[in-house]
């Protein structure tokens, strides 16, 4: 019997989009992200006026921009998180190809804004950093390849993804942008780890890293000085790290008070790389612990949800996305407290920066899409499906 009859309603495959989204989304993670973004805006109010004053702009210029970009990022995040994993995969792979091409053409069309590394495309009103957009796309692409290799008779995806990683790492290292290169490498490593890297290989790799570090320490004076500076217990208070450490100490448990902080006047990167120091000084340890807890909740909770995931691709892609996110936050804060050697890295959703905000929105949107509740073949899922039928 045909259904092409006047007045019939189209067949709906399940619930309407929004209610289903709301029912299946990981609300805790999403709330944490929204909270982080809110804290970022709050800290922007504290940290960016000195920069605005220096550039002759009205005091809250950067906060306004951050709010606009943040609104866009949140919207993008919600839209992406509503998509099905298959659609996410398709769009992400397309996006990855675009970003890859953009990255490849950076040496030709990019600008370095006088900072010595060609990382940006200038669009006039804003600048775009392709490597930020490349990261989520790369994770999906690599996860797809790794997942494909686990199919019976599938392609050798591990080798393909490794080659792809190396090409991108090389391109990033040539800019040079070792931070992003390390992140890409790390993301692939984590995904490969979860995809079932042989234990022996991991041990050999760890040994290789230790050996390489020792060789670099013995042979490169630059590298050795940085490590020595990191290891030495006393710190020159006139360096960025010195100011940051002192700011954290000044702040104590409850902070020196809103707008009373001094470190933002001394640090050129107070609104990006050292925003945690501003937070610690003005709002105290309480605020910092809240921020750390938010990141920890997002990362650990997402990982726990992915543990239950049956689909290999979703598991790997989600792992890659959440680990990049977590490690970026970890490095940023680790540097500020001198647990890690100095390396510029933004704090996701908190630091100022349009590119990183929107790219972060996309990445977290994907993560939320991947961690949505979906049938995992458990008994209750099957019963639920029967009940719905």
């Amino acid at each position: 019997m045909t259904e092409m009859v006047y007045g019939t309603v189209p067949v709906q495959s399940g619930d309407p989009v929004l209610p289903r989204w709301w029912r299946t989304i990981d609300k805790w993670t999403m709330s944490c992200i929204l909270l982080l973004f809110g804290i970022g805006l709050l800290l922007g109010l504290a940290s960016s006026p000195p920069l605005a004053a220096k550039n002759g702009l009205e005091p809250f210029h950067y906060v306004t921009r951050q709010a606009i970009f943040g609104g866009m990022a949140m919207t993008v995040m919600c839209i992406v998180s509503m998509m099905s994993p298959t659609l996410v995969r398709r769009l992400a792979v397309l996006g990855f190809l675009c970003a890859f091409v953009a990255l490849a053409f950076l040496p030709v069309f990019g600008t370095d804004f006088g900072k010595g590394a060609t990382r940006w495309y200038s669009l006039g009103f804003a600048s775009v950093q392709p490597s930020e957009f490349l990261k989520p796309g790369f994770v999906v692409m690599a996860a797809w390849l790794l997942a494909a290799s686990q199919q019976l008779g599938g392609p050798p995806g591990k080798v393909y993804s490794f080659v792809l990683t190396m090409v991108i790492v090389l391109m990033l290292a040539m800019q040079p942008d070792f931070g992003q290169a390390a992140l890409i490498l790390f993301a692939w490593g984590v995904m490969y780890f979860v995809a079932g890297a042989p234990m022996l290989l991991l041990i050999v790799l760890a040994g290789f890293v230790i050996f390489g570090g020792a060789v670099a320490y013995a042979n490169s004076e630059h590298f050795a000085r940085r490590i020595d500076g990191f290891l030495s217990p006393d710190l020159d208070p006139n360096t960025q790290l010195g100011y940051a450490t002192n700011a954290i100490r000044e702040g104590g448990f409850f902070g020196v008070g809103v707008g009373e902080g001094q470190v933002k006047w001394s640090l050129p990167d107070a609104h990006t790389d050292f925003i945690i120091a501003v937070a610690a000084e003005e709002y105290g340890l309480i605020c910092v612990l809240v921020i750390i807890a938010l990141y920890a909740v997002i990362v650990v909770r997402s990982l726990l949800r992915l543990m239950k995931e049956r689909d290999v691709f979703i598991r790997l892609a989600g792992t890659g996305l959440v680990c990049i996110f977590g490690v970026q936050a970890m490095i940023n804060m680790g540097v500020a407290v001198r647990l890690l050697p100095a390396k510029g890295m933004t704090l996701p959703f908190v630091s100022y920066g349009g590119s990183s905000l929107i790219a972060g929105g996309i990445a977290v949107g994907m993560l939320l899409a991947f961690t949505r509740n979906r049938p995992q073949g458990a008994m209750e899922d099957i019963l639920l499906r029967r009940a719905n039928r």
Partner: protein, 594 residues
Amino acid sequence: MSRAPLRPLARILKARERGENPDAIEAENRARRHEAMADKQRQRAEGRLLVLGLAFFCAFGLIGMRMSALASSVPEEPRASAVGNPIIGQRSDIVDRNGRILATNLQTHSLYAHPRDMIDPAHAAKELAAIFPELDEAELLKDFEGDRRFLWIRRQISPEQMQAVHDIGSPGLLFGPREMRLYPNGPIAAHILGGASYGREGVASAEVIGVAGVERKFDGFLRDPANEGAPLQLSLDLTVQAAAEQVLAGGMSIMNAKGAASVLMDIHTGEIISMVSLPDFDPNNRPRVQATGDQSDSPLFNRAVQGVYELGSVFKIFTVAQAMELALVNPNTMIDTQGPLTWGRFRIRDFHDYGPELSTTDVIVESSNIGTARIAMQIGAERQRAFLDSLGFLEATPLEMVEAPTGKPLLPRNWSEISTMTISYGHGLSSSPVHLAAGYASLLNGGTRVEPTLLRRETVEQGPRVVSEAVSARSRSMLRQVVTRGTASFGEVPGYEVGGKTGTADKPRAAGGGYYDDKVISTFASVFPANDPQYVLIVTLDEPSENSGDEPRRTAGWTAVPIAAEMIRRTAPLLGLRPQVDTPQQVGVTLTSN
């Protein structure tokens, strides 16, 4: 990838037997197998994800703990520390042979500004201009209100100025500790010490580097922390140096000279006890190098080391000594002094006509150019050159100053016979007063070569022999006679047996060749005491003119000699030389009692 045959083949074989298509069964088998594999991988992934989650949890926990530890510690006042690449400020002292300070360091402060921290820039600029008259209030204000974050105001300030600036009370005016090189004796030994200035500068300290003289030559030693502040000891004697400078300055003004130099050297070791070059300067406030004009007239120019002059008749003793060493003459050999001596288109004349012949001793005593030239002809160019080389006249002195290599002697391009004759009486070869001092010391100390040095030498091994002891003694006796009955009669200093030779050389014209008629370099090269030689003293005046008589007198006997005599009179007691006084016959004292 090789495809392993699916194991449960039984069903497929049965299906084939039944003539059914086995594909569906094969697909089902494959799906089952795939599912089993996925389950296994999932279990493994579950474990690894748990590990990852734990790792992240621990990392975030660690950061949180570290944050708590930092937040609960007490903040430190920011303080300059020497992490990384510190500037080493400590510079060793320079002392004289008796340990008296020639150069040391003084703790001062530099003044710099952080305009952003200023509350009232206009007031600060006004007050600063009042404290430092050389600063311009309007310019300061412009700097303070501009967008500079940091500017130096003064590199070093005195304690009074520091207090005054402190009293302005502006938080944007800051002081940094700064070591300053201090020469407590002012211009004394200025040319030898040279001077110092700042190298790399920081707020916390600045590097002091030598710019000239021994400060530059021994920069590495003076800045080497391994010395642990051990001073650099020079051969100079501060009191002798001061006396020599005073005497030379006085003499220079009496003799209307435009410059003067003196070198006092230990005849056995070559240590330079005092070395003066006038005009001089204050190394605490070293003048800038002149951009134009003759550098050799600059106060920075060290006439004793860098200045090479035709020194004139003082060279005659080298010619005569060599001839005696070669046994060509003895002090009583009669030399033909009939003038003028014509050689090609050159004519050699004497100051006076000394008649047909003079003894060798009198050639020196009367200073006969013709006689000396005739002796030189017997020696010949080769041997003369070799002899002067053995005395060090052909190369720059090895003195421990950066300027020493620039005092390179000027030699004739072609050491011809006429050059041999003119060089025999000190023309046609230019050398510095230090060269001359070393030459005299080598010749007169018993005949062994000495190298001039500015460093204290406790012991010295004998250098290669230049002339025999006998020739050395005979030379000293001739020089002594120059003072007792010759051209240097003003050089007599009772008790010190001065011997010496005068030299008055016309100055070469600056341009166009030939010599000036009225500009001379007058030199007195002396040794004392002549019977037991201890020191060599060279005094050189540039363009002297003694105007007490009817017409100006410029010969060394009237100009350089009296100054040298005064210098010996002043410095010999300081050097610890006892005057050799002929004790008169002891008059018998008769105790009388009436």
